[in-house]
Amino acid sequence: MKLKNSLIIVLCLLLSACGGKSKKEKIDMNALLNEGQETSLEISPESMNAIIESIPSPIEIAMVIKKSGFEFNEKMLNRQENAKFYTTAQDKAFNIGVYGGDLGYINIYEKAYMAVNYLSTIKALADDINIGQFFDFNTIKRMASNNDKMDSLIYLSTVNFNKMDVFLRSQKRSNLSILMVTGTWTEGLYIATQVAKENKNKEITEWVGYQKIIIDQLILGLSAYKNDDYFQKLVTDLKSLKTVYDGITIKYDYHEPESVEVDGRLVIVDKSTSTVNITDAQLSQIANLVTQIRSRLVKNG
């Protein structure tokens, strides 16, 4: 009897510790951006994580460019020699992102010989800010020496980059994490605008226009550290870019998606559409501004 009562008490104590109200951890991007604009919002770690994680991978725009039929252009990329100019943790983090954007482009175009060099540069910068431990160079070199292994190289490069980002955030160094993704995004936008301004291409031009969705998120995330000079200047730069994006409109037309099963797999077809209106003049302004911003930050001498 005594034992039975004791067990019941223990059970009750444990269940009360583990139970509780149901909790939904949802970050609504639209609401977050609206609140951020109204007040000087303090960003919670969860919101910062949501912002950082939602930024697209650089291999996506690289794929758009390649599928549009454009040749690989090494001259657009940030020179590896510029790495010696990056002396502060902020410079290093931002330019790890820039080189990461270049690496996405290099990998999609299967330039394995360049991938190893860029990875070396990234690792050296990453070591300086104590996040270089994710690069297994023996494996990377082995894959890069075999063109058939490009898919694996893309996979490994992306996994390592993501690990660096996750590690930074786990170490409460989200300031460097947001700089890394901003660097990657800036480089992707720079490459896209360089290609688009030389060649009239609807897909790439529209992609540039859709970056309106991202720039607000980046400004919000970076503004959390606006007491730091580096961040303050970067926010000012991006706000000048945002001024052009404010004139670009995106419209949505909602329709229910369709689900089909193909070979036992679930395939969803989006029946909604989005339309972006971006003029040649706006594209040109964005191209000029991002070139200036990038030039300052990569220290393009």
């Binding site: 004791s6 067990l7 951890e25 639209n30 794929m63 898919d151 993501n162 998606p257 679930l266 989006d270």
Partner: protein, 146 residues
Amino acid sequence: MKVIRDIKILLISGFLLGSVSVFGQCDADMFLDQCANGLGTYNYIKSFSIKVPLHKRINPECSYVFSKGSTYLLIACDQNLKGGKMILSLYDREHNLIASTFNEKDNRYYSDLRYSCETTGVYYITASFKGSKGGCGMCILGFNRE
């Protein structure tokens, strides 16, 4: 003697109940490489670790900007030990449900879903475990472009 015996039983009971109520070893990263094989011809973008303790009604959510013209692949990868099977659900920018890897009508699970995107915007991916049992898993995101 009886008191000591009772205390021993209490301690053992507490330990056993404690180890059931907290989801033990959950290292989702351990099976990233294994599950990433499911990408096939899709390019890996990122993965999201999902860890939900037993008896906790939490639906972890992550967001990502999908681009028009790309097809995205979401792979549901879970350890499926003590917990229920992991279910991934995809929502659009207005949080309208687009699809889920669990079909309630047919009681059918899918290990992945492919989404052919025509609307650039923020999308939300939530994870849950069948029967609110909690669990450990990973959502792997890949993309392809025609």
